[in-house]
Each structure stands twice: as C-alpha cells, then as structure tokens.
Amino acid sequence: MNIFVCVKQVPDTETKIVPRADGTFIETSSIKWIMNPYDEFAVEQALLLKAAVTGSTVTVLRVGGVKDTEATRTAMAMGADEGILVEGDDNLDSFSTAKALKGAIEKSGKSADLILTGKQAIDDDCLQVPQILAQMLSMPSVSVVVGFENNGGKLMLKREIEGGSLEVYEASTPCLVACNKGLNTPRYASLPGIMKAKKKPLQQFSLADVGVTDADRKVKYSQFQLPPEKPAGKKFDAMDDAKLNSVVSEVVGLLRNEAKVI
C-alpha cells in the first residue's frame, strides 16, 4: 500500500501572534514551529497501517518554508520512510497548496492508495486542502475522522459531526482521510528514530517543478491585524460567602438589563 501523509508546519499553540506592520502577514522570525497537531494523528495512522499491511511505504509531503523542516523530520523520526518538500511562500492559498501536493505525489513516481491528512491546520483554519486534493485526484474523502478500520482495502471510517454524532462511512481505496484528535495516540519519535531520520531520503522541489503557477492562487489576504481589544469588564469579589448571593444576583441583573443577553 502506498500511503502518503500531508503535514504542515504551524506556530506552536502558545505563540503570541504579531501582525507585520504593513499588514501583509504575521511576524515569523521568532516563531517556534511544530507539526500541525492534527497531522500527528495522520502520521500515526499511516504507521499503524504500514505495520499491518506488508510492503507498505509511507511518504510524508509538505508544502511551505524550507529553512525549518521540523514537521517533516518529526514524521520521518516517527517512522515515515521518505519525504518530499515543496518550497512554498506565505501567500499560498488552499487551492495552490493542494495542487502542489498533487504535483508532489506525481513526482514520487508512486500512485497513492491512501492519503492521510489532519482535519485542519491550526494556522489558517481553512479546512480546504484535503477535500480539494481528493477532488483533484478523483478520490473520495472523509473528514474529521475519529475511527479507522481497514478490511482488505475496504475502509470503515467514523466521521464526527455536530453534537458528537458519528457518520460511519464505507469507502473504497484509493481514498483520502482527514484525521481528528481521538483517532489514535501518536507515538513520540525515539532517539534511534531521530538518528535514522537523518539518513532517510528527502527530495525538494520548487512550486514551478510541481506545476503551480500564479493562476492557481485564487484567494488573496491583506490587512492582517489583531482583533479589537474589549474594554475592561466589571469584576466582583465573591470569595466571602456573605457576598455570594448579592454578587450573583447583581451579575444576573446586568446580563438581563445591561448586556441584554438573557
């Protein structure tokens, strides 16, 4: 089984985001990059399948900046066999990213039996690339997946929807699966894994190499800015039991008469 995992490198969730003064993007110089947290579930699922299906290979794909290759190296240290990196810039939208990933799969010389991704990247939060890529490759896709069973190439996939309900899909391969937290418990990269990863093949291409042109950029971002700060609110001390009832009663009154939300 030829398994491809798409990973993205995103700022650590603790990062304070600072827009550039000219509003073209955010300041990236001091950011600590990590693998998009949802992509860890995709990598783990790929490695579980590789262990279960003899002769499988796991290729990790990434589009983005190449100065730092944290996400790709982590995936290979966890156990992926090889990597393909397409050098992208800050202005890639979901369509051009998906097209670059499609181009990277073609460059690998292998046909994809299964593509695994995270359900969304926690930087732009678009949730588009998996479905766009699947459509480009005429593949079915199931997103927000929290359950995965492989019965000889027939997949049973559980997709989480509103209110914690689950849609149970049966899908044939080739297929794209976008993974959510809860699907599995991602392994940590071991020290020998990290050492081995350094010797694994990592190919690098430009956007032009994989056939992405300016016409593939369909969406333009500008005016990056911090959200407006709220004026300071009202704070009440209810640590003293004697004040409890009056404080709560006052807040409920404010919610009705001042904020008008009840």
Binding site: S165, L166, V219, Y221, Q223
Partner: protein, 320 residues
C-alpha cells in the same frame, strides 16, 4: 448583478439560523437557495422572510444521506445550469466538508468561515479570523467565478428588518453517478443540544472542575439557559470531558452571545477560541487569572458555590 446561491440545511424543520443570517446580510441581491433532500414546508416561510427568491430542492435516491461526492455533484450541476457566481453556506459540518470539494470541481477559490463580509452582488470582501482568532485578515478572490464562501454561525447575527423575497420552491431530481464513500450508519450523539459551534449560550468548565462527575452542575445551569456545555483543553486532556466539547485552538472556535467560563484560567489557546463571544462571564478563584482580561463580568469566587446560586437565579428570572 451576479447570480447568488445560498446552500441551506435544516434543524428541526426550520432553516438553520446561519442561512438566515447570510440571507439577511445581502439586501438587494435577491439570492436563490438550494436544499438537498426532504424540504420541510415550514422552512419556506423563514427563507422567504429573509430574502430568498427561488428555492431549489434537489432530490434523488443517492442524496438520502449526506456524502461529499453526491452533494457536490448535485450542486455543481445546478450552479452550471444557472450560472451562479457567488455561492454561500454556513460553516457547519457539511458546509466545511462539501464546499472545498465543490470549489475544486470548478478550479475555483474558496474563502472559509468569514465572520463578516460585504457583498453587493458583484464584489465580495470578507473578514476572517486566523490562528484560531489570535489575528484577523481581509480576504478577497483573485481568480474567476464561481466563488465559494462559508460563514461562521452566530457571527453576523439576524437582520432585524429583513427584506422579503418571493420564496418560489421548485423540486428537481439530481442525477448522481457512482459514490465511492457512502454513509452506512449514523450513530446519534447523546446530546440533543445545539453543537458548540452553533450554540447561542455556552457554559464551559476547566481544570478546576476536578472530575467529569462535577460537570453535572454545569449541565444543570445549561439546562436552565438552553445552553451547550463546553470544556477547556486542560479539562479535556485530564479526561473530564470528551474532545468534541473542547473550545480553543485545537478544539472548536465559538461565537455565542453568552459564554460562561467556570474554573477556566484562560490559556492563550482557549481565549483565541472564545474571544468573539458577545458577552463573557468568568468565574475563577484566582483574581489574576487571564480569563478576567476578556470577561465582561468577572466573579472571583469558587465555582462550586457560585454556579448553583447562578442556576437558581436564572431559574427565578426565567420562571422555570
């Protein structure tokens, strides 16, 4: 003027509120609406009230359940036949999954989950949060039509004085070819309440809840308010609540009218996910907890004492 289409879903025989929010935001545009499957007649009135002109109802054996491939094919053909140029949907489970595939069928651009937009029928520009709301940016299309847009539920609000549309309903059979990923079964969640992403009021618990059993006091408060219960990442990671209840950067980003944070300190990734709530109430024993910097009304106190009194006060107020 461009031709505009809004995809709608239903909730208990009514059009989902986010569809009405979108329609109400488009005065003078005369948008059409598309629905798939059974069309509840009670929804027609809502849709017309907020401006829907023509309501297309697409039916077919392959469309009984949602599937990304089936729904995308059906709507693709409708867009082609009518020359729609701007196509909107709510950013719901289906909207998020369906629209990227649909936009890809046209080699078109899509803008996800805007929280505000301006659209006069010929040009569109939107505002959307990035990094789970730590930052905002303006978004526009550069490629050719059709253009696809999803809108975050509760972000626009309902128009107070909408302009009505004709609301002509027409049914058509959609032909759908082979579907390679099909729903075999739907396992209903235990909650009958609105999802966090669509809820108007949210009561959330943090690490200070101490265990999953204690969430019952939040459930009681939520029942009185008709609210949905959420949790912080700390509470989810500690096993007090399942991941589908998590609010924040690695959970759900929410915009209710009222958000009540109980025993949540306010880690940056939690604040990012709930800061667009219209009114925030925070209850925490630590007067210096970061959550208080975002709260409209902060109560420094023990949630186990405050929440039951709050529940009783709301009960009295709402006559329950």
């Amino acid at each position: 003027m461009s031709k505009t289409l809004v995809f709608t879903e239903f909730s208990k025989d009514h059009a989902k509120s986010v569809t009405l929010e979108i329609l109400g935001k488009m005065k003078g545009v005369k948008p059409d609406v598309v629905a798939i499957g059974d069309f509840p007649t009670s929804a027609k009135e809502d849709l017309a009230k907020y401006g829907a002109e023509n309501i297309h109802v697409l039916k077919g054996d392959a469309l009984k359940n949602y599937s990304p491939e089936g729904y995308a094919q059906a709507i693709h053909d409708l867009i082609k036949a009518n020359g729609y140029e701007y196509i909107f949907a709510g950013s719901t489970s289906i909207g998020k999954d369906l629209f990227p595939r649909l936009s890809s069928m046209f080699n078109s651009g899509m803008i996800s989950e805007v929280t505000n937009f301006s659209y006069d029928g010929s040009t569109f520009s939107g505002t959307r949060p990035l990094f789970a709301g730590k930052c905002l940016a303006k978004v526009e299309f550069t490629g050719a039509a059709p253009h696809f847009i999803t809108v975050r539920p509760n972000a626009l609000g309902l128009d107070a004085s909408p302009t009505a549309g004709a609301g002509n309903v027409s049914e058509a059979n959609a032909s759908v070819s082979e579907i390679k990923a099909l729903i075999k079964e739907i396992v209903k969640g235990t909650s009958e309440k609105l999802d966090l992403t669509e809820a108007n009021i949210i009561v959330s618990g943090g690490r200070a809840m101490k265990n999953s059993e204690n969430f019952s006091i939040l459930n009681q408060l939520a029942d009185v308010l008709g609210a949905t219960v959420g949790a912080s990442r700390a509470a989810v990671d500690a096993g007090y609540a399942p991941h589908n209840m998590q609010v924040g950067q690695t959970g759900k980003t929410v915009s209710p009218s009222l958000y009540i944070a109980c025993g949540i300190s306010g880690a940056i990734q939690h604040l990012a996910g709930m800061r667009t709530s219209k009114v925030i109430v925070a209850i925490n024993t630590d007067p210096d907890a970061p959550i208080f910097t975002k709260a409209d009304y902060g109560i420094v106190g023990d949630l186990f004492k405050v929440v039951p009194i709050l529940t009783q006060e709301f009960k009295n107020l709402l006559g329950k």
